[in-house]
Point group: C2
DNA sequence: TCAAAAGTGTTCGAATTACACCCATGG
DNA sequence: CCATGGGTGTAATTCGAACACTTTTGA
């Protein structure tokens, strides 16, 4: 059967923990549509798949070309949106992605592009709001049983910084003591031996840590029904 | 940019717990290619996406039309395979799925189609072996923190039967006592009040149970870093 | 010496495993 | 009454939450 033109696009929810009024928050990168359809609404970065590239390469390329974001420490597939009527005009099948950018990088963005805290999203284009929700749920889940936080953290960091990252990404408070204990038992952190100098208010200097891996790894596979040891 | 013809297809790893020599095992539905390329290798059921349907409908339709499997109790997306060279000829982007069929159904299959235990897969076509691996990992993970077993179990069943299903799907032994306790605490099972008659060797009649939900539900969300209550 | 921030230790409760023991039925 | 399978009770262990206490710095 011959098909009418179907476009395959990637859409990426790029997350970064950023400082807003009221402390650090999880933010997502969006650009505002200058033209109809849905002029003025905010969209996820992405674009059309080329003949010679796969979807992951395509998503990376879109981020580098269009919004100049090159420092994506982790990128993974979410689900495919394939409803024939999800956007007006010719059919567009969207493969969606979750992308993570470390705390310290601050790319220069085009004029129409900005970081938005996920707790206060603007009016979103088409089904892009659903994609952001999926990405948040996926990130929160993986923070609990993988080392995925490596992609949100700087290369070296104090435990208090890592705690801020977890709190912002999860949307609720996490105890620094237990965070350290859990990550230590799972061997996802390494002490660097160095310390940070305390702030102007004084206080004990914080030891600096680093993630042992720079790729995602499952650290707590089974909640129940483990294989017998 | 105009694209050369790109076909979008669905591929589904359909799993069922079936009886083989040596007891129940997790099995996957495969068909054998009668023509080149890769004549003789075994493939997952699937096919081309139509203009008016989304991918999930397409996957369901392929299973009903081509292998006459209608009783798919659960179907969910796995990842997309989009390498331009994943198959010879025109580009085919494959959206892959995990499908589950209850223990009791036994569909009549075409001649080229058969159930294979996942522990002893035949030579697989293209990247279809990878899809089966993804599906196994996903199923094992979700057995631990969701009620997904409802889609592998008959409507009513004894705990010993459910235990066999878990053991087969996970690939290792599970304690029946703890299985019952965990599923009870999570309120995924309901007693039916009826009992099964014992086998020829005697023994106490088994109470029959039923899953409370007939759709997937997360029953144990966070392993670590729960929100404060 | 005090406040602030970092790090350590301890207790409590919940979840999971492992295993012993009791119950119901057929022969 | 005994073998066979179904079901219940319980100790041991592990894990995470909560919180008090100690350590190290700047003012």
């Amino acid at each position: 059967m011959l098909h009418s033109s179907t476009i395959h696009e990637s859409l990426t929810a790029v997350f970064q923990v950023r400082h807003f009024d009221g402390g650090p928050e999880l933010a997502v990168l969006l650009w505002q549509r200058a033209l109809d359809p849905q002029k003025g609404t905010w969209s996820l970065p992405g674009g059309t798949l080329r003949d010679e590239e796969d979807l992951t390469s395509s998503a990376r390329r879109q981020l580098a070309e269009k919004v100049d974001v090159r420092d994506v420490a982790h990128l993974e597939q979410l689900s495919v949106f394939s409803d024939p009527k999800r956007v007006p005009g010719p059919r567009r099948i969207a493969s969606t992605f979750l992308g993570l950018v470390p705390l310290t990088t601050d790319p220069t963005l085009p004029d129409d592009t900005a970081w938005h805290p996920v707790s206060r999203l603007p009016e979103m284009s088409f089904d892009h709001g659903i994609v952001v929700d999926h990405a948040r749920v996926r990130l929160a889940a993986k923070l609990s049983y993988t080392n995925i936080a490596f992609a949100l953290a700087p290369r070296e960091f104090a435990m208090s910084t890592l705690r801020e990252i977890y709190c912002a990404a999860l949307g609720y408070d996490v105890d620094a003591t237990n965070l350290q204990r859990v990550l230590n038992r799972r061997k996802v952190l390494m002490p660097t031996g160095t310390t940070a100098s305390p702030g102007r208010a004084g206080g004990r200097p914080a030891a600096l840590y680093r993630f042992t891996d720079s790729a995602i790894r499952v650290t707590d596979e089974f909640a129940a029904f483990r294989p017998r040891t």
